[in-house]
């Protein structure tokens, strides 16, 4: 049994989590009489149980067994599907997840919750003529037991790849094992087939393990042997007589023959698990292995499932690339000037191949956004139960693809936004009916591509944002002056200010201190934006605009003096030639440019970065107006160059973070160009201005003293 099973554990975990997700989503949409849904839930539970058994995750097996029994009754129509049952099953899904995670990380878990849920499950089962759930539990008390095992394999057993020696060493891991061969069936030497097995065995095993544990050892050969397991007597030996097993012995035991392996080896006990589920305090050998492999599993978190079509496409493209390459190298072998045309067309082909290859490789990292959306049906279900609001969740565009890294990091902000929509957006049913709206509120999640970006919309048909309340709150919190006049969108942007919460009382759903400012910051860290639209009485929409990938950026190349910089295209509002009559100088040295109604402060890049520029005069200069943190500024540049996609490279790897610079990239000619970090530049300019002011004040004071 101790074949290197541990190598399959990561795939088991992955499949289990997928199974759990399937169970969850099917449970949420379960309608009475929907046999297909119940079947798929049952299948998922069954494969988790089977897998967990194979890998020795006993707690998982036992718990899932209860769930499976309940599901089985539903499947056979012995039980009506009640809402209460579904709730219990949903809780069970959580429990199985907790158990599997605990088994994966080898950590402790919330035993109370598991115990409570399993009790609830058992109660539910007992209300009908349910099958006994735990046939092994009465025998699984912790006393030492002497088992008598008769094991007579069929002659062809070894031909199916099974080895009795391995079985015995697995048994020896459970306790004291003594082996006696029965050779009475041995044929005469002339009749013997060297590839068959004729021996039977009589085994005596003194162990803490339950019958189920022993049977598990024979799981793979059950159908190919005669197996009789009987309990001889309960041996009341003090526990110390069976020495605690060291971590490594399981491997030693595998190598040693069963006779030698009969030396005292008992798997380590887990005495920190007093819950009824963990009665079997023996762990199968593989569980010991798990101790060692779990840190590895944690490191391997980053795996992606890629569709075969995507891989096929890649292989096709690589094939074409190879053809192009061989064509070019043949051309280069014997090159004459009259072949220039062929060279150009070959290079064009190479360009095409490379582009397609790049796109395909990027697509491998792309996953449909349903991975992020999947958790919301459950979330909304739970929230609506908790708040007593009736809510329907509509999900659209779940096939829209998004980079895996972005997906992982957008999950939490989205959860926050959905919670917010439930808590603050949707009204209670009576209020809704009074307003003439359907009693059931609707939250819509939508995702779609727009240019090089993905837009995720979270829409609710609730009361909308109370503009006045937001405004007053902001005044109260000293975020703005009472006299400020703001546009609607500027008012809604106040929601994302740190320390802002309009909820009249804190609820444990959204008002938990982590505010919308964190949401905004997270989204900005991904290079995205968030916008709010709201109509009083009709509801609000939060639009999250994200780049498709973090590795590539759409940039505008600009030139200042001899240097080339890249401005992220997403930050650019517009580019224009400054007209001298629209330039104003205020408060000393600040240049303001009148852009329609706004006064946009101008930052000359050459000044900020201490470099030389072609032209240091603002008149007729080129301005790139960018926006960050809700602030518009004009960057003064010498020239606008091309727009292109650039691959972001880190400066921190070999150097350090540079203020105003988010990274570097390599341009087509092999030179390096810096990517501008607009919020960082604004900060840099602000700091510098503050310091200059202080220096001024200090020199003033110093002058005053000398006078």
């Amino acid at each position: 049994m101790s074949i290197e099973l541990s190598q399959f554990i990561p795939s088991f975990l992955e499949e289990s989590f997928e199974g759990l997700e399937l169970m969850e989503s099917s449970l949420l949409s379960l309608q009475p009489g929907d046999d297909e849904a119940i079947n798929s839930i049952f299948r998922a539970a069954h494969s988790i149980k089977g897998g967990a058994g194979t890998f020795g995750f006993d707690q998982v097996t036992e718990f899932t067994h209860l769930v499976e029994t309940l599901l089985d009754e539903m499947r056979d129509g012995r039980r009506e599907i009640a809402q209460a049952d579904i709730e219990i099953l949903l809780d069970s899904v959580d429990c199985i997840r907790i158990l599997i995670e605990a088994a994966r990380d080898d950590t402790s878990y919330d035993e109370d919750k598991i115990a409570k849920t399993s009790q609830a499950l058992e109660q539910t089962l007992n209300t009908s003529q349910s099958v006994t759930s735990n046939e092994n539990s009465p025998k699984a008390d912790s006393g030492l037991t002497l088992w008598n095992i008769l094991f007579v394999p069929e002659h062809h057993l070894v031909q199916t790849g099974n080895d009795p020696l391995l079985l015995f060493s697995a048994l020896a891991d459970l306790g004291f094992l003594s082996v006696q061969a029965k050779i009475n069936e041995l044929p005469a030497l002339t009749d013997m087939d060297a590839e068959e097995i004729y021996i039977g065995w009589q085994l005596e095993l003194k162990t803490y393990a339950s019958e189920a544990d022993i049977r598990e050892v024979f799981e793979w050969v059950e159908d190919e042997c005669r197996l009789e397991i009987s309990q001889m007597e309960a041996v009341n030996l003090p526990a110390e007589d069976v020495p605690k097993k060291e971590v490594n012995t399981s491997e030693e035991a595998i190598e040693s023959s069963p006779e030698i392996a009969a030396k005292p080896t008992a798997p380590s006990e887990k005495d920190d698990t007093p819950s009824p589920l963990s009665q079997s305090n023996q762990q199968a050998p593989t569980a010991n292995k798990q101790d060692k492999s779990s840190p590895k599993a944690k490191q391997e978190v980053g795996s992606i499932r890629v569709g075969v079509d995507k891989v096929d496409m890649l292989i096709n493209l690589v094939g074409e690339l190879v053809i192009t390459q061989s064509m070019l190298s043949e051309l280069g072998n014997d090159f004459e000037m009259n072949k220039v045309e062929r060279l150009t067309s070959g290079l064009e082909q190479l360009l095409q191949n490379t582009k397609e290859l790049q796109e395909s490789v990027m697509r491998i990292r792309m996953l449909p956004i349903s991975f992020a959306f999947n958790r919301f049906p459950r979330l909304v279900h739970d929230l609506s139960k908790k708040t007593g609001k009736e809510i329907e969740l509509v999900i659209k565009g779940e096939q829209t693809e998004l980079d895996k890294t972005v997906m992982e990091q957008i999950g939490d902000p989205l959860v926050h936004l959905v919670r917010n929509a439930v808590d603050h957006g949707i009204e209670f049913s009576d209020v809704r009916v009074a307003k003439g709206k359907p009693a059931k509120g609707t939250i819509t999640l939508d995702a779609y591509h727009l240019g090089g970006n993905i837009v995720i919309e979270i829409n609710d048909d609730g009361g909308g944002i109370d503009r006045e309340a937001v405004f007053n709150k902001a005044v109260e919190k000293n975020i703005i002056e009472p006299t400020t006049s703001l546009s609607d969108s500027q008012v809604f942007d106040l929601l994302f200010e740190p320390g802002f919460s309009t909820a009249k009382e804190l609820s444990d759903i959204s008002g938990r201190g982590v505010g919308m400012d964190v949401v905004k910051r997270n989204i900005q860290a991904l290079g995205g934006r968030i916008q709010v639209e709201s109509t009083p009485g009709k509801g609000s929409t939060f639009k999250v605009n994200l780049p498709l990938t973090l590795a590539i950026l759409d940039g505008q190349l600009v030139r200042v003096g001899t240097e080339t910089y890249i401005i992220p295209l997403i930050t650019i509002v517009e580019s224009l030639q400054a007209k001298s009559e629209l330039i104003n100088r205020v408060s000393g040295d600040v240049i303001l440019y009148r852009l329609r109604e706004d006064n946009v402060p101008v930052i000359p890049i050459y000044q900020l970065f201490n470099i030389c520029a072609d032209s240091e005069s603002i008149d007729d200069a080129l301005l790139v107006v960018v926006e960050a943190d809700g602030l518009k500024i004009g960057l003064m540049v010498d020239d606008l160059l091309a727009q292109q996609q650039v691959v972001i490279k880190s400066l921190e790897d070999n150097y350090q973070q540079v203020e105003g610079i988010s990274g570097a990239t390599i341009l087509g000619d092999g030179s390096v160009a810096m990517i501008l970090d607009i919020p960082g530049m604004i900060q840099l300019a602000t700091h510098r201005a503050q310091r200059n002011q202080q220096v001024n004040i200090q020199t003033k004071i110093a002058e005053g003293e000398t006078v």
């Binding site: 080339t564 490279k649 400066l651 790897d653 070999n654 150097y655 203020e659 390096v672 810096m674």
Partner: protein, 176 residues
């Protein structure tokens, strides 16, 4: 242009590279280089490559001795002018100006930085006991950069601590 013909002209490795270098040695090997007229050395195992000077891309508001960054086969490598850092000689950039690219692994992170020097001179063999302590009367080179001194004939070579060289002081965010 016949590539095959070109390929045969390229000398087989070993014909050149082994010549004049004594590989049979017990001690450490050091690469020596010139800053103005003074000789310095670094552990040869840290040397990634030696390249000719090319104009790097400037890093905004960097210290004066950080000349910028270059693209070394897809990796962004900062360039530090040792002459400016130690204030030795004049920082002129001619055809013989070279950049020694050094890689050091510390805390499981490797860092690659190029250093501008006047010229690369030799590979030096030295046993550990040949490395003498540096004088405490410091010159332009701060003491923590110096591992020791090695006597080579009549000359003295200053052995530099590569890890210390690679530590880059945090930017002063505002410089006037």
């Amino acid at each position: 242009m016949d590539i095959q013909a070109l390929a045969t002209e390229v000398p087989i490795e070993g014909e050149y590279s082994l010549e004049g270098v004594d590989f049979i040695t017990n001690g450490e090997q050091y690469l020596t280089f010139l800053l103005d007229t003074e000789q310095y050395a670094v552990d040869i195992l840290c040397v990634e490559e030696i390249r000719s000077w090319e104009n790097p891309t400037k890093i905004p508001n960097a210290p004066i001795y950080v000349k910028g960054v270059i693209n070394m086969r897809g990796v962004i490598v900062p360039i530090v002018d040792l002459r400016l850092k130690f204030n030795i000689g004049k920082a002129k950039y001619t055809e013989t100006t070279v950049v020694i690219v050094l890689t050091v692994e510390s805390n499981q992170k490797s860092r690659t930085i190029g250093f501008v020097v006047d010229a690369v001179s030799d590979v030096l063999n030295a046993e550990e006991n040949e490395v003498k302590a540096a004088p405490t009367i410091g010159g332009c080179v701060p003491l923590h950069f110096v591992t020791g001194l090695i006597n080579v004939g009549d000359n003295v070579v200053t052995l530099l601590n590569v890890e210390a060289l690679q530590a880059i002081e945090k930017h002063k965010s505002i410089q006037g």
